[in-house]
Amino acid sequence: MGGYLIVIEQTDGQMRRVSREVISTAKALGGGDVTAVAFGPGARSLAEEAGRHGATRLIAAEGERFSHYSSDGFAEALAAIIKGEEPDVVLYPATSWGKDLSPRVSGLTGAGLVTDCTALVRDGDDVLATRPVYAGKAFTRVRVTGRPAMFSLRPNVQPVTETGAGPASVVEPDLGEAGAAPMARVSGVERGQSDTLELTEASVIVSGGRGMKSGDNFRILDELAAELGAAVGSSRPVADEGWVPHSYHVGQTGKVVSPDLYIAVGISGAIQHVAGISGSKYIVAINNDAEAPIFKVANYGIVGDLFQVVPALTEALRQHKQNA
């Protein structure tokens, strides 16, 4: 039937923001109908949201076998759906979930997959992908031969748009035995601190480096982050020292981020770190060393003692909000 199949990431009827981005991207590319597919409890309830962003149909796989995520079980089910639907293009979120699932579907179907794309464009009957390599030190333009062509999209890059259309029509898939005997199965999920924002999906990030001098001093970054609604990250040495958890580490061997605003505090700007933040729309550097390489990639910089500048910035933001 052609068109797009969008694999939605959702938990109990809550669609991940990136999935709204992915549906919007398919709608913007055009050239075919947009069908969404969602797994697990609450899948059906996404009809309205999927429709609003451009999906006309929603395949809702809510059966017991989808109550807990299984990379192999979900991949089998998805491969069966792809076989029945024969889409031209399949799109995934490039999240932990999407990165786990999508290559298995590629393996089962033999369909080509391009992961973590930052842009898709139409080129005749094909979709061409742009994707960073070497954590953003270079980029590639990639084509998938054969059908379907599969891509996963990096979160926080594509805009979310609404079409004003009504709910997608809900379809229950006929899956037979596909996915009924999963091997790997998720038995539990532990959320981090509820007030911690995820770096790869944050629109503002405040990050600290060696200049912070200790883990305790990250307190002033937490205060700045709270004022901005930002996630807190770090350079690699700081995570290796144990000042902050490894999950804070932004860079080539940590998290590659693409926020609207990245504030690097006491970070000199090693090449691995700069690569990991190069997708940021605006970079602000705060450092006492005017020669630090981070200033070469910064849109704005303050040369000064971060222990004075950061509290001053927090205060200036507070005043800005009061005056707004």
Binding site: V114, F139, T140, V186, S187, V256, V297
Partner: protein, 264 residues
């Protein structure tokens, strides 16, 4: 316990990557090639498991003779032996992840394994595809981005903690399985001088794709992903640097973020 570890060589992360003028790839002159950092975590975990449970750790890789340096390093860390599938005869095929995974899967199929470890991704193309693809080819379950792995050797079950966005999940799976290592799993050891010497005498087997029943045409036919062009990242505009009184600089920055960048 028989444990395979998939190894890839990548440019050292300190490398400044330059794109060739014709966009056909990156300039490789002067690059220092190292073991993919995530593969080091995978290997370290495999070595710890072997030292606890007994058995053997075998490195498996695909590539040119240059990869042998990285495999020797893995042997010096403590792996027992290594197998490299040579890319001889595949020049110009431009193998994609599907083909590489097929090659590695066929190399793995020559023996039986309890665990297959790999890095959660390689820091060159950052695709994070080959591990799961190998698992599919071998009909095995997987857990990627692994932070901790508990093994019930008697029950042949694994309980794995894997990283999500701002959360962690526990995955239960049977052995054998493919596991992808994440930073935080362990601290990789450095090879000691005696072990570097010992590594020179450890077996490093080189085989060709023909030994696996594969040939260039078969591999070319299964490729679906074509990189058409490399290009440099977009340049960043000249920055505006503020100095002087911290409070004034901070207020000026807020003003610029509001009136110029429109992001606050």
């Amino acid at each position: 316990m028989q444990i395979a570890v998939l190894i890839k060589e990548v440019p050292d992360t300190a490398t400044r990557i330059q794109v060739k003028p014709d966009g056909s790839g990156i300039v490789t002159d002067g690059i220092k090639w190292v073991m993919n950092p995530y593969d080091e975590f995978a290997l370290e975990e495999a070595l710890q498991i072997r030292d606890r449970e007994g058995g053997e750790v075998v490195l498996v890789s695909f590539g040119s003779a240059r990869v042998d340096d990285v495999l020797r390093q893995g042997l010096a860390m403590g792996a027992d032996r290594a197998v490299r599938v040579s890319d001889d005869g595949l020049a110009g095929v431009g193998v994609d992840h599907l083909a590489v995974a097929k090659i590695l899967a066929e190399a793995l199929r020559r023996e039986s394994w309890d665990l297959i470890w790999c890095g959660k991704q390689a820091v060159d193309d950052d695709a994070a595809q080959v591990g799961p693809l190998v698992a599919v080819h071998l009909g095995l379950p997987q857990a990627m981005v692994v932070l901790a792995c508990h093994i019930d050797a008697a029950g042949r079950r694994l309980s794995v903690r894997r990283e999500l966005e701002g959360a962690e999940e526990i995955v239960e799976l049977p052995m054998p399985a493919v596991l992808g290592a994440q930073r935080g799993l362990n601290t990789p050891r450095y090879p000691t001088l005696p072990n570097i010497m010992k590594a020179k005498r450890k077996p490093l087997e080189t085989i060709g794709v023909a030994d696996l029943g594969l040939d260039a045409d078969t591999l070319r036919a299964m490729c679906r992903v074509r990189v058409e062009q490399f290009f440099a990242p977009p340049g960043r505009p000249e920055g505006r640097i503020l100095t002087g009184d911290p409070a004034e600089a901070a207020r000026e920055l807020v003003r610029l973020l509001h009136t110029e960048a429109h992001i606050i």
